[in-house]
Assembly symmetry: C2
DNA sequence: GCAAATTGTTTGAAGTCAAAACAATATGAG
DNA sequence: CTCATATTGTTTTGACTTCAAACAATTTGC
């Protein structure tokens, strides 16, 4: 919150103290990364692909545990799963505990995910293009120490 | 996109390949940081405080250049400035080019920003609590290389 | 002087999210 | 076993953020 860096060439605007804040840099980086991701995997947003990956790794997981895992409200998950179910990527099945729904990937979901994974691998390489392998690992580690 | 890390203790869910993706870690970190920021500076969102800092560093900047600086559409800026003007934190003044509005901080805006800056300094320390000064600098640098 | 570009604005739409209240179902204490 | 309590998924409502297209006012450039 003290020193004033150089103006940004693109806009000609003085960015003020913002570039010294971790939160600001996180937002810029995330914006860039998500934009590339969205272009790499059209039709399904980054967050939704994340959901599919979570379901793949935990077949039959309940909606509540899914919500808890991504830090969203239970009620939010309803609409999300409605979306994914409308696209035939997942399906809900009544559990032994009949209050719960187990969530499973459909065949189409698994197929889309397989395709997405290849696109994600390319995407990840583009994102880390300006980073050495060691730097990339360091970044992941530092982010992990920030993000709980 | 290959190895499968340990389950997260909190949820008991297998996170799958997500923790190996930079975008995922960015989202988690940003979520944590923004949550702390929002609690530190109540009433005005992180993005809005960013706007105020930008206006402070560039008094009289036009709406379009502001929009361009934060990567938003021109039309988006209208509502944002309406908000801030309704809270008497900024004001618009017709420019020499009478198509444009110059944006300026009000006295209340400067006062709120001064208070916010102290809160942000504390916030930044909490965010970087688990990082050495060198690690914090390294993180900012690596994020800069990701985020355009 | 006049066509073309720029600026701020309005309108309409989409996407994301949370909070509160509800029915169905399960759990646990007695 | 019974009945108060908790949990799960859902609906409804509302807030927030964003973009795109169309428009009038104004400026710029040929």
């Amino acid at each position: 919150m003290s020193r004033r860096p150089l103006k940004r060439p693109g806009t000609g605007l003085d960015p003020g103290p913002l570039p010294g804040l971790i939160g600001y840099r996180l937002r810029l980086a995330q914006q860039t990364v998500f934009r590339d991701f969205a272009a790499s995997v059209p039709g399904v947003s980054p967050g939704r692909i994340g959901m599919l990956l979570l379901v793949e790794a935990n077949p039959g997981v309940t909606q509540s545990r899914l919500a808890q895992a991504v830090g969203r409200d239970r009620s939010t998950m309803v609409g999300v799963l409605d979306q994914l179910e409308a696209k035939r990527l997942v399906e809900r099945r009544k559990g032994a505990d009949r209050r719960t729904n187990g969530v499973w990937l459909t065949r189409a979901g698994r197929s889309l995910l397989a395709r997405a994974k290849r696109a994600i691998a390319d995407h990840e390489q583009r994102v880390a293009a300006r980073l050495s392998a060691a730097e990339r690992a360091k970044l992941l580690e530092l982010l992990g120490r920030i993000g709980a």
